[in-house]
Symmetry: C2
Subunit: 137 residues, 2 copies
DNA sequence: CTTGACCTTGAACTCAACTCTAAGGTTTAT
DNA sequence: ATAAACCTTAGAGTTGAGTTCAAGGTCAAG
């Protein structure tokens, strides 16, 4: 049985994060020591690894709650549910990437056109582009 | 002179947003009517357009504050300052895109491998991938 | 003169995922 | 026996960009 600090070090998260996940219903300590310390067993460690991995591929804590619900009772859930969650997250991620790519292109154009010199910003092409109605950036 | 609702409709933002920007020091109403209503003139409208455009290329409100400070007194600021803000935002944006692309690739792989069928999730490849130490996704 | 569409304020609330604080109890090593 | 390094709790704070609420004042039309 491991104390919270041990789990935290193993998985490179803070003890606060572990307590926070507990409050969020993601990971309960297996038992408490007589003094009230959280004690985790190997299966709790594995569950925390699952959470960390799911985060690493972009799932939110809310998504992870759903994944855990399924994982804990796989037999009464379908592959389709899991795939659906994954595809939904994929779509969201792609939409966000598209948005950021638009930002990236606009910012690139702005930066390229600007001399970036020490002289005054009176004729700065970036400011001008943001002022003018002609939003060609 | 325009009332807040007029500006809001013109620029497709809420009146709450305009009041919020005022609190943040981004855009003051030009004057107040005898009844205390905010009244904006054309230059305030132009400034709000600037803010909206700057947001549209990915600047945060904090960034926009800095841009406005420069814009209001261009003569005492350099092109370099503006370009620096832009490049900084560009770097941030690219970093975030990289992170999301990693998510995207992982999620794609997970989704591709999963049958997504109606059958139970007992052998779901997505769950298995997130459980196993072998993080090949 | 009243109805409806405006406008005002301050303050609290939202979301996500933590992080920090205060005030204390426990364990381990010396 | 005492100091260092753990652990506990409830609750507040953080970031960013707003949104919502309550309680009220104003303005134009009919």
């Amino acid at each position: 049985m491991y104390k919270i600090g041990h789990i935290a070090k193993q998985l490179n998260v803070s003890t606060d994060t572990l307590r926070y996940y507990e409050r969020q219903g993601l990971l309960q300590a297996s038992v408490r020591s007589p003094a009230g310390y959280r004690l985790y067993d190997d299966s709790a460690l594995e569950q925390m690894r699952f959470i960390v991995r799911a985060k690493a591929v972009g799932f939110s804590l809310k998504d992870i709650q759903e994944l855990l619900t399924i994982k804990i009772d796989k037999h009464n859930h379908s592959c389709e549910e899991v795939k659906s969650l994954t595809l939904q997250k994929l779509t969201q991620t792609r939409q966000r990437i598209e948005e950021l790519l638009k930002f990236e292109r606009s910012l690139s154009v702005l930066a390229e056109r600007c001399c970036g010199g020490e002289e005054s910003a009176d004729d700065c092409s970036i400011l001008t582009a943001l002022e003018d109605v002609d939003g060609s950036a």
